[in-house]
Assembly symmetry: C5
Homo-oligomer: 359 residues x 5
Amino acid sequence: MEEASLKKTVRKTGESPGTLTYVGRSKLKDVLLTFTEYGEESLLTKTWKTRKDFIRFNQRTEHAPISWLNVDGVHKPEVVASVGNTFHLHPLLQEDVVDTEQKPKIDYYDDTIFVVMKMAQFNREKSRLYFEHVSMVLGPGYVLSFQEERDVDIFEPIRTRLQNASGQLRRSGPDFLFYALIDTIVDHYFAVLEQLGDRIEQLELNIIEETDEKATHELYSLKREMILLRRSVWPVREILSKLQRGSNTLLTPELQPFLRDVYDHTIQIIETIETYRDILSGLLDVYLSITSNRMNQIMKVLTIISTIFIPLTFIAGIYGMNFDHMPELHERWAYPAVWGVMIAISVALLIFFQKKRWL
Amino acid sequence: MEEASLKKTVRKTGESPGTLTYVGRSKLKDVLLTFTEYGEESLLTKTWKTRKDFIRFNQRTEHAPISWLNVDGVHKPEVVASVGNTFHLHPLLQEDVVDTEQKPKIDYYDDTIFVVMKMAQFNREKSRLYFEHVSMVLGPGYVLSFQEERDVDIFEPIRTRLQNASGQLRRSGPDFLFYALIDTIVDHYFAVLEQLGDRIEQLELNIIEETDEKATHELYSLKREMILLRRSVWPVREILSKLQRGSNTLLTPELQPFLRDVYDHTIQIIETIETYRDILSGLLDVYLSITSNRMNQIMKVLTIISTIFIPLTFIAGIYGMNFDHMPELHERWAYPAVWGVMIAISVALLIFFQKKRWL
Amino acid sequence: MEEASLKKTVRKTGESPGTLTYVGRSKLKDVLLTFTEYGEESLLTKTWKTRKDFIRFNQRTEHAPISWLNVDGVHKPEVVASVGNTFHLHPLLQEDVVDTEQKPKIDYYDDTIFVVMKMAQFNREKSRLYFEHVSMVLGPGYVLSFQEERDVDIFEPIRTRLQNASGQLRRSGPDFLFYALIDTIVDHYFAVLEQLGDRIEQLELNIIEETDEKATHELYSLKREMILLRRSVWPVREILSKLQRGSNTLLTPELQPFLRDVYDHTIQIIETIETYRDILSGLLDVYLSITSNRMNQIMKVLTIISTIFIPLTFIAGIYGMNFDHMPELHERWAYPAVWGVMIAISVALLIFFQKKRWL
Amino acid sequence: MEEASLKKTVRKTGESPGTLTYVGRSKLKDVLLTFTEYGEESLLTKTWKTRKDFIRFNQRTEHAPISWLNVDGVHKPEVVASVGNTFHLHPLLQEDVVDTEQKPKIDYYDDTIFVVMKMAQFNREKSRLYFEHVSMVLGPGYVLSFQEERDVDIFEPIRTRLQNASGQLRRSGPDFLFYALIDTIVDHYFAVLEQLGDRIEQLELNIIEETDEKATHELYSLKREMILLRRSVWPVREILSKLQRGSNTLLTPELQPFLRDVYDHTIQIIETIETYRDILSGLLDVYLSITSNRMNQIMKVLTIISTIFIPLTFIAGIYGMNFDHMPELHERWAYPAVWGVMIAISVALLIFFQKKRWL
Amino acid sequence: MEEASLKKTVRKTGESPGTLTYVGRSKLKDVLLTFTEYGEESLLTKTWKTRKDFIRFNQRTEHAPISWLNVDGVHKPEVVASVGNTFHLHPLLQEDVVDTEQKPKIDYYDDTIFVVMKMAQFNREKSRLYFEHVSMVLGPGYVLSFQEERDVDIFEPIRTRLQNASGQLRRSGPDFLFYALIDTIVDHYFAVLEQLGDRIEQLELNIIEETDEKATHELYSLKREMILLRRSVWPVREILSKLQRGSNTLLTPELQPFLRDVYDHTIQIIETIETYRDILSGLLDVYLSITSNRMNQIMKVLTIISTIFIPLTFIAGIYGMNFDHMPELHERWAYPAVWGVMIAISVALLIFFQKKRWL
């Protein structure tokens, strides 16, 4: 899974399109291939760890009613190429599976539907979003899914649901499995949004109670994550809208309400992101006006103290002068009189401040 | 009814869609089912408090011309499921009835129209918006309505209007009742807007008269509520637009002008919200420029006082020095001369400030 | 006429739609009905002050070629209802005539076209906009117009033009009269815009010459009025666009260029409002940067004076100390030397400020 | 030519549409009519200065292959009316020729195409835009052009090109002349944009080098002119788009690539304006942050000097007190000790400032 | 290659369209013509340096299956004209080849497709974008490409790929070469974006760690480059969308997925630019709030020091006065008492600051 970063948009300029180059961080882990064959009555799961194994598996796929091949780890282009060639996937499709910088999109090829999505995860400690590049292919009788990393298997709940022989997943075709994969990814965004919402509510309290520089960084980083999140969800809306509208033999009409449902969820996610962005903008305004308000208060204190004591100190300075001829110095009433003048000045200034509402 | 909060967008990732889980705050109150049967000549109302009663009612619904079943409290999924199964509602529809985080939307099912809306209420003391999740189903000959809580019965005025045997409600079909329910919810937004408008006008006065930190919080909280309000009204526009355009046998042509009317109201509400947001942005600008203006005034006072007295105090300091050989100290005219210099400096500075328009 | 206020959006929640309730400020004045019958050769004008008279007039309307009934003052719902029933107007139409909060809109009913508009007026002394709710109905052979108040008769110029037997108004059908009424209201916006433009140009000068807190209030209030103005003009564009596109037997093809003309005017008004808003935003930026610039200047003066004199005062303080053993005090050259050091410090600081471009 | 001002949007409310009233500044200059007749083989130019002459010319227009009548100065409505009646122009078209506040637009009349545009010119000394109202009519075999003032003849280059007998202008129909007039006006915007671009680049340098109040005014005035410029160019886009799409017998298919070309230029102008506006917004941000940065620096200097010397001056003050019993005063080591303390305090504070990165 | 500048939008007003004038910076270098003829089996490359040579080449083009003529350096209009006439290019097309200010666009001529694009390059040292004007023509059996400068040959990778006899480039028609040229330019944007992303991440760190004036300039300059970049990429989207939709005999159906691929890349580039702009806006907000926060801290230090010592200095001043009758001066306990009062004041003020959270 990759930390949401700005600069990993590199592409190899001038290279022939369709060349498979892994763009993400190079990883040393093995590829894990999970193959599931299921129908209303049967369920069979196998896993391979190396490419060699996979080649053997190639000779066996034909007989199962619905096949689902999940490829965990796309950092070995040769494995992707090998799967791709088995299922006759277009070179550009294979390129998009490996290009972890590819934004979410849907492509219709002759007999397959290809969807790229981003799986979002929020790391609370680092306060950072991580995205995982997930590609899915729906073909006649089979579904392929490619995940970037295999630490977390995001499709585990679907495997669990497949155990349930009477579940809709077992009774429906590959298009329903395809939908279930998309739905799982979309649902993950809700979890991320909830965590971000938590952070925003915390930040709200922090900013109103005590305004320090950390709040600014938190605000900025939340805004930034929101921008990156929106960028990964926004195209999903179009993917689902195209899936709904497009009349394709791969998609059964019974799937329509489910596609509409996940489409609605996407809209809800997008609107929540927009709402959060608006609220974060509002928070920035609050922050700035609280800061400038505090500055005002600090300045008031400084001004009140300075304005009162500076003239008084001046008067004291006058009578500290060592001139030989200062008649006031020798009068009995002079010292109390000076005190009187000083108090009068202080009171006058305090009344002035009162009028200005500075006290 | 729920306080408008940011973080309640949780969904159970990976769960099979169509599973009924109540997402709102769990409540201990009983469910209240209100059943109304009416025609041009008859009107019959019954209420049940438990699910058992409701099952008995199931055997009786067939004969009435128009049936309206209002379910108060959706926190018991089993009741919703029981009603849903009686009327053969789609599992996704039932899920949306229970999911209080579902945004407003319209769905067409085979023989029913399903509308989700949010009932808004403004708590003046807490200065917070509350939203209630309301779902409505229009089927052949019946209307179902689901409310989140039953403290306030928002559909009471409609029951009162049903008493009037010659009213349009009694003379029309279930689609008119369906419209009347939607219209009631839309009209509630006007009341909320009026209260928010009141707050904004009060805030306008507060900000211009005395600018304290509280105004910032009020501004922010009004902006925030406005964002949440817009989010709940915006989809209503599309719901009504779809109801108007969609040619559906459930909706009679006579309903058209009424749908247009409630659509116009929605537009008016949305525009008022936008207007309020613009005005609140303007208020923030006023607040910030008033704050910076006051800072300027404070600084002017400090600068004037400091700038006049600091040089004078310096002069006094000079002649307070204890050097043995300071010839000026022994001159008769020295003391008055120093006073003269001091007054000259003050006058010069005052003229300088006058020119700078600081006085 | 009503002052543009934020909070008058109240609606009677849950009431049966089509109920006539006057929402504006209740007025004690009488209703004034002005009835005009005209054709190419004849022109007849009558006025009634009470409802009783109006009922008598009902029996006479049939024979005139073109009838125009102007109802001044919509605060008596029973009069509107009585007119409405005579001309068989839809209950929702009647409701919109009386509801002074209804935003501008166009509705097509079976044999009538109904237009709601807002007549704008600018009160220079209060610097506030006032809107008057005006409704117009075009039916076969007749035009009805409803105004909110009768102090100012905005349609007077049209009556004057009707005197001219050879004018286009007399030679054309009721649709041309309908257009002339709309055109009059749209033209009024130009006058309001001119007055607002005057204010903005004045404000430009004020802000650049002397920046005080009043300018902020003026800026805010102009922005606010602009928002309210836009809100009342924006829907007019759609009204006219619908009138142009809609092929309706009530509208003759000869009217097309005139409708296009008034549509162009509306666009021009909207664009001017947007331009004014942009300019006001620019002015706010100028205001804020001028304010912060002035602050800078004030701070510079304070800093220069303080920075020069504080060290000098410290030196004077040193030699004002009363220690028994301060050898410098007894040297002849000490006093002039101290003066020398002080002047050197001042010059050094002045050079420093010069380099910093603070002088 | 008129200075771009805000308030000249006056219209005569309630007047009959089609009345010719000159809205611009009344001018005393004569009207100048320039009549050009040309074909592939012939070219004939005549000018009249008074209306009487023009009437004589009316009897002569029929025989020339292509006629171009240019009316310089539209401040005499009677001349426009006279030309208008000769060519049977619609009264609303004539009104728009005279109304110098009319925004750019295109109107199709039965056998003519009518285009209104604004000719932009930039006065470098005043740093202000000037707009000239130009109207053009394309009819069967003739082109009419109306300019507001005749000091500068903007169409002179076209007359020069007409001299070239083998030029495309001479070989094409009146639609090509019509296009050439529009193209000339659009090209003028490029010149204006170049001058504005120059100003912006200058302003960039000024703001980064020395930030004074003048830069704010310049920024504001450039923003303002940009708003006015955009307002005059924006509708041109639609004019040209309509000309391209509309299939009209007046426009030959050969003109299409040329219309597309001038349309592209308009898009380019609009985008440049938007780019300039974005850059100006960026400049304002730079300006504000530079200002606040400088304030910070000023405050730092003040704070460092004050914070160091205020405590020192206090210590000096202590030992300047005249109490009879101050044992320290009589110690030999006291004076150097005080100096030691003072230096220690200064050094401690300097280290503190160093840590805070204020030095 | 040209530095991205604001003011080079000059056009020669009133000139006949179709006149070839080079608008870019005049260059003294020679033109370089590279001619490539290739088919599945053959590949032939020739270069000419002068126009004379080119004329000789004209007599040879007919026999090769696919011809690609690359013209490096468009500053010699006569060469462009000579190529243009050989291939019968429309005069407006030739004008756009030479006009380096022409924005990206696509034009369909009778038997050619003409595309203008901007090649972006980022100079890290100057932190500036450079754009190169590139035009491409696809005709039956040939492709023409025109580059502004010949220091860097951006199409070199394509020549390398042409060496590979089994590559798709060699096996496909001229439309694939045309696509490959476009793809190369679009891919270059990714490299530029990566460098800009680097700069932004660096800036993020800089701003959060130490906020100096340079960061503002960097921020502004990145924003500016982003605006210019967007302006050059935005129209590319439309070019590719038109290429995809337009059914043209020059484009084979096999090209469709490749066009879709490069279209997706363009979308991705545009979205990255928008994301960067949003992030830069966020950074500016951080910068401003950090600045104002630092100001607050500076003011706090000044206020604390001043507020504590100013009253103390005043007290010291009081007892430095030289009045004859100041009874306190002669008391034994007076000096320690004054110290006590001073310490009490300091402690009280420190507690006050503690409460205000300034410490």
